[in-house]
């Protein structure tokens, strides 16, 4: 069954959201038109404004509506620590879960040569300038524990090693909290064993 053109268009447009198939898109469209017109208008305006105004922070590449994001502009952060992550969601996760007080650098991806993603595509030229500024004493590599994440971490570690006075660390890997050894995959377990620490 087909709806009027504009409704169809709305359903089609909603499908650009992750996890939204034709059925959910249809439900959303009817809900907005039927019961939540005010909310829908608000959503549309906010979306438009965000898309126009949100860009990338000049310093950390994270999403930001100001040229330098709040975190980078804050004077309560330790500016000698730089944590490197793949996505804005990772910044949020680390900020929520840890006491980390330093700054971030967001790659917006990882090195993946077979997909044509090289060092310049993930802003490593910008990171190089940042490392040259002399402000940073420790780089914490918090890229994903995937092969691409590891390759990226290694590449950045080498960049940092070419500059004097920068320590490089990699976040620890191993058995998840609340995890039972039996169900942990063998690579993780072997890494956890290799990197065991003295008590």
């Amino acid at each position: 069954m087909s709806f009027s053109p504009l409704i169809n268009q709305l359903i089609e447009a909603l499908r650009c959201l992750p996890g939204v198939g034709p059925k959910s898109a249809q439900r959303m469209a009817f809900y907005l038109l039927d019961r939540e017109r005010e909310g829908g208008r608000h959503l549309a305006n906010t979306l438009l404004e965000a898309i126009e105004k949100v860009g990338h922070c000049e310093q950390c590449r994270n999403l930001s509506e100001t040229p330098v994001c709040q975190l980078c502009a804050s004077d309560s952060r330790d500016r000698s620590l730089l944590c490197i992550v793949e996505t804005p969601a990772d910044v949020h996760a680390i900020a929520q879960a840890t006491e980390y007080k330093g700054l971030f650098f967001v790659l917006m991806g990882h090195l993946s040569p077979l997909d044509g993603i090289g060092p310049l595509d993930i802003g490593l030229d910008k990171l190089g300038e940042r490392l040259d500024s002399g402000e940073i004493s420790e780089v914490i590599l918090a890229t994903n524990a995937t092969v691409e994440g590891e390759a990226t971490a290694h590449y950045i570690a080498e960049m940092a090693a070419r500059r004097e006075g920068i320590n490089v660390s990699r976040i620890a890997q191993g058995v998840p909290m609340g995890g039972e050894l039996e169900y942990v995959n063998s690579s993780t377990l072997s890494r956890a064993f290799l990197e065991r620490h003295r008590l």
Binding site: P18, L114, G118, L120, D125, N185
Partner: protein, 242 residues
């Protein structure tokens, strides 16, 4: 109608994986008995994915799949045991090995012997004390052999004389080494007899030999890559001075 390619617990590795839709991946895999295969793996990504095995390159896995046509559907996957966690400094070499297979092997064309070479090369890359260039040169030679473009490392292609360590040869891509007395007009790479013999014996202890072998392998591989450069080589080295 093509036959249903149902396969059960095939030993192999992921060469490349690409996200597909919200929770699925498109996998290019290299299996011992089936060669290169393309699979769609559903529901393997995201927080609700339940995989006992790590679905990544360089991890030995057992794949089951079904389906007709080029793209099969993965029905199950499990760890084949053993761990190949390449050190960070070696991952790019692993990507390079994978890219060569993706570029040079046809789908569904089994190469069990090349698979053995691939596995041995990965194993060798794990050991950071072994120079990775030597591992890659050997792998390239084995790959060319397996594809039917093997190097001729026994005799002069024109005179039929055995190769001499202290002679200079011009390596013709189809015929093989041709002695080059004077160092003039070489359309193809000039390689010393010593290097050719070392390639034959997989002996890469001398840095000069490694350099020449690299030039020769690069030239020979480029003959089969249709002038499209390898991305793993280009992109990684494009900006080493960052």
């Amino acid at each position: 109608m093509p036959a249903d390619h149902r396969q059960h617990l095939q030993y192999g590795f992921i060469l490349h994986s690409r996200p597909y839709r919200d929770t699925s991946s498109l996998l290019e895999i290299f299996t011992r008995d089936g060669g290169r295969v393309s699979l769609v793996a559903r529901g393997v990504r995201g927080s609700r994915a339940r995989n006992s095995a790590r679905l990544e390159a360089f991890v030995p896995l057992l794949f089951s799949w079904a389906g007709r046509g080029e793209l099969r559907t993965m029905t199950a996957v499990e760890s084949a045991g053993g761990v190949f966690t390449l050190p960070g400094s070696r991952i790019i070499s692993g990507f390079y090995m994978n890219e060569l297979i993706l570029r040079l092997l046809h789908r569904d064309d089994p190469h069990p012997e090349l698979f053995v070479c691939y596995e041995r090369a990965l194993q060798a890359l794990l050991d950071e004390s072994r120079p990775q260039e030597a591992v890659l040169r050997r792998y390239e030679r084995e790959l060319l052999d397996e594809l039917g473009y093997g190097l001729q490392l026994m005799e002069d292609a024109h005179s039929g004389e055995p190769l001499h360590a202290d002679s200079q040869y011009c390596y013709h891509p189809e015929q093989g080494p041709i002695q080059q007395p004077d160092r003039q007009q070489a359309d193809y790479p000039l390689i010393s007899g010593r290097t050719l013999l070392a390639i034959r014996d997989n002996d890469y202890r001398d840095p000069q030999i490694l350099r020449e072998a690299k030039i020769l392998m690069r030239f020979l591989l480029s003959q089969h890559l249709d002038n499209r450069p390898l991305k793993s080589r280009e992109l990684y080295w494009q900006s080493r001075d960052l």
